[in-house]
């Protein structure tokens, strides 16, 4: 058996047998999904509580029709009691708040002089709902004052819905864009997390060999480069294994959970969006649109995305973990690593930020394209762009640059690694690392 294979095998087994690996692999999807359900559950619970709001309408503009109870708010008319008495009553009693509408000469003044009193500071959504209600009423009054017919205005309202097609004649829905952003973000974020977690694990493994002093025994049998590559590949395999297990677990748990608790996935995702938008979305999805959406999902390049995820994961991981390995070799213990970690973490963070900032607005904009070529950010940014469809030549350029950089960085890191693993004592500086690069053999 070749030595590299032996090393990969050892590193893989050492990693996979580790208790924290097992915990992370099997517990985190359960935790994640558990959290998801908890959030949905809590949101439902939260909405169930009805707020009692009393109002005093001194202007006489509003009617009972305007203050109809909703699912979460119950209105009561206290106009007869007067503003001061009502405020006192709310302060002492079990009411959520009091809306005071004074009498004013003009609508403009009225719009600015309405007050809301409450014991707790009210949520944004509640205030928005109240403001919308009043705004609409005042606007309608003004329109009537201008001599316009409200019914006609109502009748003139029209809902435009531009249907989107691509040139192969398939209709696409707008919702799918959100889905694409979601998928891309998850892939990019996941990749960053994997690179950090497994890169750190490579680094710790190098430090462990140094502190336990087995390193000299090992490098008298194998080349340092083989050891470093074995470590990187072994850890990458463990990472892929974890990724696959997560995928499978996620599928199983979601299926079981939705069957048992009756929370379906669409609703779970909808729960994160403010309720009004959900209403809008629900209206938007008419039966035939739903079909378009499903077709669209089926047409998403799932396989391509999956393969590209694996490629960019491996490419990005090897690029970064060779740096992690070099850092591990340069120091004697984990506390000394910090000064070298910043330059490694920066481009990763940059990738995520640039990805979120640019890809969402315009997946094919020049910044997004640029950063999907730069090898230190390309794994993250390109993965975010992939769901929107990326031209094959762009992919080819990005992958080629990543591959070339990865080979160069591994070569560079191996030089530092080779010298560093046998150096003890003094904490090295960047200048030392540069010197090591020039050592022969």
């Amino acid at each position: 058996m070749s030595k590299l294979k032996l090393i990969i095998q050892r590193e893989f087994i050492a990693k996979v047998r580790n208790k924290s690996f097992i915990m992370m692999t099997f517990l985190s999807p359960i935790l994640m999904i558990g959290m998801g359900f908890l959030v949905v559950f809590l949101m439902k619970k939260n909405d169930e509580k009805i707020k009692d709001i009393v109002y005093v309408d001194n202007s006489g503009m509003f009617s009972k029709e305007d203050f109809k109870d909703t699912k979460t708010i119950h209105y009561e008319d206290y106009t007869a009691l007067g503003a001061e008495e009502t405020k006192k009553k709310v302060e002492d009693g079990n009411y959520y708040g009091a809306l005071i509408i004074p009498k004013q000469d003009s609508l403009e003044l009225l719009a600015k002089s309405i007050e809301f009193y409450s014991k707790d500071s009210p949520g944004m959504s509640l205030m928005e709902a109240l403001e919308n209600k009043i705004e609409q009423k005042i606007r309608n009054s003004k329109l009537t004052n201008f001599g316009m017919d409200l019914d006609k205005i109502e009748a003139s309202k029209i809902n435009t819905d531009i249907k989107m097609f691509n040139f192969s004649g398939e209709e696409s829905s707008k919702l799918i864009n959100g889905l694409k952003i979601g998928l891309g973000s998850i892939a990019g974020y996941l990749l960053m997390m994997f690179v950090i977690i497994y890169g750190n694990s490579v680094m710790r493994s190098v430090i462990e060999e140094k502190t336990s002093r087995i390193i000299e025994v090992i490098v008298s049998s194998v080349k340092p480069f083989q050891l470093m590559m074995g470590k990187i590949i072994g850890n990458a395999s463990a990472g892929l294994l974890q990724f696959f297990i997560w995928g499978i677990l996620l599928l199983i748990i979601t299926t079981i959970a939705s069957a048992v608790f009756g929370v379906d996935i669409v609703e779970m995702q909808a729960a994160r969006v403010p309720s009004e938008q959900v209403e809008a979305a629900k209206q938007a999805i008419e039966p035939d649109k739903m079909q378009v959406l499903i077709q669209e999902i089926l047409r998403l390049p799932i396989l391509k995305m999956f393969i590209l995820f694996i490629f960019y994961f491996l490419g990005g991981f090897m690029l970064y973990s060779s740096l992690f390995a070099a850092v591990g070799a340069a120091v004697d213990n984990e506390t000394d690593t910090q000064q070298f970690m910043l330059p490694i973490m920066m481009p990763l963070m940059l990738g995520i930020y640039v990805g979120f900032a640019t890809v969402m607005n315009d997946p094919h904009g020049s910044i997004a394209v640029l950063f999907s070529y730069i090898p230190f950010t390309s794994p993250i940014v390109m993965l975010m762009r992939v769901p929107f469809g990326v031209a094959w030549y762009e992919l080819a350029i990005s992958m080629a640059i990543l591959l070339a950089t990865f080979i160069f960085m591994v070569w560079l890191a191996a030089k530092i690694y080779r010298v560093g693993i046998l150096m003890y004592g003094k904490k090295p500086t960047y200048k030392d690392l540069y010197k090591w690069l020039k050592y022969k053999g």
């Binding site: 087995i214 000299e216 025994v217 020039k438 022969k440």
Partner: protein, 309 residues
């Protein structure tokens, strides 16, 4: 082929620092070769070059007639001074892994490990983790993984550190037995008494240069000062001493004899032989003690280094 290992004009520099300056050594097949020198002299650099952990800047190394190449790692066993094993890995798995890295097949490695584990009576440790073993126990495992692939060349850097005297003796016996079975051994240590006991040849390295090498006996002959330790039973010690000083150099000596005798160290001067000294002594009294002083490895080490400074 007389020499197993030939090191020719090896130079190794780290930046501006020269770790080895034109060092050449010949290590005969089947010998125990002592590689000696003060801390920081360059021994470890040389050993790492032989192990191909680092490459020399210039010079060549010939192992058993072939230029040193990557496949030779299987023929070399190396016990570094700073040693260790994977702490959380089981003894057996670890030994198997290291054996396979040295090119043994898994089955062969198992067979050899069983032999050694039985020999050292440590089979019960197979499934223990290294962190559960004492330092001495871990050292035994380390010794086994160094020798189990039957290498032609064994390099031991301070092999006895961490062993109690009983286990140190056991290891010394094993090392000599390996030599008798045909292995060549490079032995680096600061414990000069074990150099006396074990080494056939030595080389002394100081400040990146080789300053001395050869058979231990030859070097001792070279370093002896023709001084004799003398014990004489005589009625008139002062007179004998003064008479001696006319022809020899006399130094005080600090050994003890059972009866009340004159004791001293006498160094032969030019033109005198041991027999001249002996016949003079016998004419003056009863010779109780007459031994040539042979320098110990320790004396040689200190003398050579001091001269070199």
């Amino acid at each position: 082929m007389k020499n197993l290992l030939e090191i020719n004009n090896v130079v190794k520099k780290y930046g501006d620092f020269t770790a080895l300056n034109d060092v050449s050594l010949n290590i005969p097949k089947g010998s125990v070769f002592g590689l000696l020198g003060p801390n920081g002299a360059g021994k470890t650099s040389l050993i790492r070059i032989v192990n191909q952990i680092t490459m020399p800047d210039s010079g060549s190394i010939i192992l058993d007639g072939e230029a040193l190449a990557p496949h030779h790692t299987a023929q070399i066993g190396y016990l570094p001074e700073e040693r260790g094993l994977y702490k959380s890995m089981k003894v057996g798995e670890q030994a198997l892994y290291l054996a396979q890295l040295k090119g043994l097949s898994k089955a062969e490695a198992k067979k050899r490990l069983k032999y050694w584990f039985d020999k050292f009576d440590i089979s019960a440790w197979w499934n223990k983790k290294i962190e559960e073993l004492s330092k001495g126990m871990a050292q035994k495992v380390q010794f086994i993984v160094t020798v189990m692939h039957n290498p032609k060349l064994l390099i031991f850097d301070e092999p006895f550190s961490g062993f109690d005297p009983i286990n140190a003796q056991l290891i010394a016996k094993e090392i000599l037995q390996l030599r008798d079975e045909g292995a060549t051994i490079i032995f680096s240590t600061h414990r000069m008494e074990s150099v006396e006991e074990m080494c056939d040849e030595i080389a002394l390295i100081n400040k990146s240069n080789k300053i001395l090498d050869g058979k231990l006996d030859d070097i001792k002959r070279q370093f002896k000062t023709h001084t004799f330790q003398v014990g004489l039973n005589t009625d008139n010690p002062t007179e004998v001493k003064n008479k001696l000083k006319e022809n020899f150099e006399v130094y005080p000596s600090n050994f003890k004899l059972l009866n009340d005798s004159l004791t001293m160290n006498v160094k032969l001067t030019e033109g005198n032989t041991a027999n001249n000294l002996l016949s003079f002594l016998t004419s003056r009294g009863e010779v109780q003690h007459f031994v040539e002083l042979i320098p110990s490895a320790n004396d040689i080490f200190i003398q050579a280094i001091n001269k070199n400074i």
